[in-house]
Subunit: 375 residues, 2 copies
Amino acid sequence: MARPATEELRRRNRSALLDRLHRRGPQTRAELTEALGLNRSTIGALASDLSESGHIQETTGRPTGAAGRPSTLVECVPEAATVAAVEVRWKRLRLAVVGLGGTVLRRDEVPIAPGADGAAVAKAAAALLADAEVSDAIAAVPGLVDGGTVAQSSELGWADRDFGADLESATGRVWRVVDVATAAAVGEWSRGDAHGVANLLYLHGGHGLTAGWVVDGRPRRGSSIMLGHIVVNPGGQRCRCGLSGCVEAEMGTFDFSETIDETTIAARLGDTAAREMVRRSGEFLGLALGAVVTATNPDEILFGGWLRELYLSSAAAVRSSLAEATLPQLRARLRLRTAALGAQGPLTGAAEIGFEALMERMRLMWLARQDSNLE
Amino acid sequence: MARPATEELRRRNRSALLDRLHRRGPQTRAELTEALGLNRSTIGALASDLSESGHIQETTGRPTGAAGRPSTLVECVPEAATVAAVEVRWKRLRLAVVGLGGTVLRRDEVPIAPGADGAAVAKAAAALLADAEVSDAIAAVPGLVDGGTVAQSSELGWADRDFGADLESATGRVWRVVDVATAAAVGEWSRGDAHGVANLLYLHGGHGLTAGWVVDGRPRRGSSIMLGHIVVNPGGQRCRCGLSGCVEAEMGTFDFSETIDETTIAARLGDTAAREMVRRSGEFLGLALGAVVTATNPDEILFGGWLRELYLSSAAAVRSSLAEATLPQLRARLRLRTAALGAQGPLTGAAEIGFEALMERMRLMWLARQDSNLE
DNA sequence: GATATTTGTTGCTGTCAGCAACATATGATG
DNA sequence: CATCATATGTTGCTGACAGCAACAAATATC
């Protein structure tokens, strides 16, 4: 039987179409034709494939006020492909089931025992997911992640834990494990304000300080960035990591993750001690940022987790100490902002990482009609 | 006239074939078939195209000792496509004309007056290049480069100089301008020891300290990294950039760029002052590296320019101060080495950047036979 | 209601890559 | 040395694909 040669081209175009719908939301066929640079008739054929396979839905176009026949509106069918995203935190586990196009189909949350190990957390995740059918599953974990293994997580108290294996044995399926900051960076980049920024640095305040990036318009895969352990004060405070003078130690991040709200409120109400603490932390943050900005030259920095609150209360201190540690040419291009998606960032991004893998698979194979006509 | 639809597929495959030959050197058709995952007959057709257009040359295969008909050997014809790479330094200008497959067809070097402006340097480059026909032209410049503009170069004494425009008016062709460290990083990654390392950081010691990267297996485009201005000693030595405590100021890099050889030799011969100077510089370098490693988590760091000599003389100091400023989990994966291509790195990499653009153009169009059969 | 404009649909065409059968070139076996 | 096994290049054929042109459909404008 002749393997259908140029069919790869069709798969590429088909998944490009679906990918665009997933990322940019409902669009007309005319817009898709323009955007993908293909012929009207080709778009028609691709849309017909995707419609038959149930991935998209077409609705007759509404008059736009312009002359001519209104173009058909195309949109993703959320249920056609779903991704499970799980976020592990110190005392709770959160789940989102996200459908094609980014629609959140389900949200759930359960408490977990502080100090629970990977197997226990995986079990809780399995219970939460129950027997939901999803195309892909991603877990976001705070700490240093390498492949499926959590090399080090002070928040969870794990070290060299193969959490991917834990999840696989608890749920019977393959999971991808990423760190929370990388997930959130992807989330903010794909569905937040920072849509399409070429070089984005996302800083996450959890029990520690971590970072995720987008470099040259691609979310960085590789492993995660433990930003909290940049040394800003050599020979300073002893850090729990064993080094001295880490930003994390100097800022006292562990406390912040619990007390950020009261501290910033107190500072705003005029409490001198709180105000001083916020200012000092902002200064150290600015110093660490200086090194990172010099080393990576991003277009934009987003503050997420409790860094969001801290930045809102100490922007001036952050900026002034950043100014002492970065070249003016780099500062000029740089924007500092708080993350738009807030606490939803990590789950949103984790789901998006899952969809990226799904689109990649669609680019490699196509099951829909071939299943029914084998031989 | 019907635009030949699926022809894009052919262009993609053809340029993938040529790209592989360019990067990996001569290969047999059988190896290419295996590597590209295409059919024997398809490889034959592509090779025939490229042979007709003069890009490749096929020679009858030599017996390998294994059974079966020996496979035809395919190799690039260097003269079929050439790239001009120019490296601008404080007192000299270097040129290399590189052919397809990485063969260096010509090398040249002329002195330039210290303090010469962009127009003068461009004129010298035009004279050096003479009327050589090249497919692409790249200039590597020490400093902070943004697009075709040199935002800041202390070595050349330029600021906001549109060197791309200077070159264009002097030579009548478009140039791409990149910074020396980025070029060298690409060179080491594509043709040096660090071939294929996913996350590579190349540090260049010139008048200043700059860096270039490969992230997730792709050379980072974007703008350059002024590593020398990472602040390692807040409130320390005043740096010429206006900040205080930059590594560059603490290390005294400006002196090193002239005196590195005598200093390291003196240190090795037992000169206490030189030895102490080398040790201290190594320590500060390690501190800056700590911040960079924490922020970027590379697999490998290469030392180029005079950092090569410094590292060879102070590896212990670099490693020990790096150990005080980086998490052990990150250090464990990290390799430190000197750059393999040495002084040739920047030119090699600049040429490679040109070839990348050339391959991209081939992917978009194909001129050879269409020129002769228009209509 | 007629015309201009834009879009979806249909049948046709040039091109492509895989395949199978055959030709070619080597090593292994007796 | 002849034959067989093995690996590779070549040729004609095939299923598939995307572009195109002509036509049909749906809207705005006058």
